[in-house]
Symmetry: C2
Subunit: 339 residues, 2 copies
Amino acid sequence: MKIVVDAFGGDFAPLEIVEGAKMALKKHKDLSLILCGDEGKIKELLAGEYLERVEIVDAKEVITNSDHPTEAIRHKKDSSLVKAYDVLKERDDVIGLVSAGSTGAVLAGAIMKIGRIKGISRPALAPILPTKKDSDVIIIDSGANIDCKPVNLLHFALMGSAYYSIIYNKEAPRVALLNNGAEEGKGNELTKEVYPLLKTAPINFIGNKEGGDFMSGDVDVMVADGFAGNALLKGTEGAVGAVLSLMKKSIKSHFTSMIGAMFMKKTFKDLKERVDILKKHGGSPLLGCKKLVVKNHGSCKRLNISSSIDQTILLHEKQLNKRIEEAIAKVSGSEAKGE
Amino acid sequence: MKIVVDAFGGDFAPLEIVEGAKMALKKHKDLSLILCGDEGKIKELLAGEYLERVEIVDAKEVITNSDHPTEAIRHKKDSSLVKAYDVLKERDDVIGLVSAGSTGAVLAGAIMKIGRIKGISRPALAPILPTKKDSDVIIIDSGANIDCKPVNLLHFALMGSAYYSIIYNKEAPRVALLNNGAEEGKGNELTKEVYPLLKTAPINFIGNKEGGDFMSGDVDVMVADGFAGNALLKGTEGAVGAVLSLMKKSIKSHFTSMIGAMFMKKTFKDLKERVDILKKHGGSPLLGCKKLVVKNHGSCKRLNISSSIDQTILLHEKQLNKRIEEAIAKVSGSEAKGE
């Protein structure tokens, strides 16, 4: 099993990326990694470990968030990300790519270098969030596709359902359409057209749900255009952070609360673990891409990288892309309506 | 000062509405109220108090959430809400209307019975939310206008700025455009067209902000189309509720946390007060309507009703609608671009 890692993408690259790679190598005995980036630095960080299972592809450039995504993929040919995509494209034995680099560049690279699964109109990112119950929820699309057509959302639903089904080992995840009301006739022009497509799609479609249902535990896969999905995702993350920050501020201003907080350590730990759900799963795969590409948050640390490698292996073994292809084949008739 | 109240709209009507009315009458000595709804029941709840400052307009019907909004306004002529709108329309001395009834019907009634301020393309609701700092934030539109044109968002920005300026007594509130990135070129088709309109509008436009900035305290007025705005608003509310619910569950499962929670009472009270910000302000006015209409949440209690009456008085005294008219006059040239 071979995976290629962009060792120089991310705020804490290369240290955290290489350390995450080592964690994954320790865990998976049959795993080999190809690390792309400055050879000297990577060697230094490897410190002689796992040399027989690590190949280094030297790359002197780094793509940053300030680079224009498609320009960077086109012109920064000696960057760690472009080199990683070249490896993924050219070598059949490499099953996937992991990067914590610029989201735009990772997306652009996937489309320009690897391409979409046949029939998929737009690849999409589907990050995982916790709910107030025991289940988690994903949102697709979360910001990769800003202006969408109905058929895009149909594809998001199919891909999201296949993905959720694998990572949570759940037969028929509950797929909902993000809307401004629960009734069937509700929505903007886009969601009104999407609703009938989802109703007849080979998924467990549970109808319209509002933003307030996102963390309710009643939805597994929330389908949205990338603009509204991004607003919901970022708003939710921001709100969670704001509540914790308000609580912290209040604790500091009451002596009794400070005492109480000392007794509440287990609860704060529970909360932190539940909120930082991505630590467990690593990053989000770019669903709909011909080969597996898992994108991590720029600020991620070694555990995320290691988890992203775990996830890449799982998605490969459970044949995510084959499932997506099969789902797409089933809806090929109804698609024409949503184009 | 006369205000008309829909005494039978809302989950806890008429009891909580009439009690809220009494609270307001106690507070404002020069206030008179017109309560619309079943005369017998209202008299019973008034229990002989404030009779000289309360007029009852008898109405035997009630509009519910299951009624079709425009149909209900058209046909339920003997409903408490339609009677209230008739009073607001016909009597010049009545400065505003307060209702906790069906949002759709309150909106429909405002447009059908009262009409828009000249130049305003679409009225909008702008609910208030807390931020993690000391300031609050409003979102406009939050769901009244689902498919929007650029000019609608320009008007939302002008109205939101005027409203925020009054309720927080702040000269130049920071107005941001909800977007999927901070840079000027970012956005969907709509926001890309809205950006230049806001840039030249007579407001303190601070550029694009993401959903994650909503509760940051760095934005006063978040401008969005009603679909994305609704997703952000509801998602935020849901996330706040989810965090509190996860915390509660964790506290119950650890004995030490239960002890801690007893010491944390002041912090939980602080949090509750900050989160239930609407208690302080009552409901949200329907901005852009020729006369003041303040809509309360269906589940609101007496304190919200009383606060909504306070707010109606404040918005009247500070001449909200005159300010909106002046702002609209200033942009009458640039509007053509966004229609």
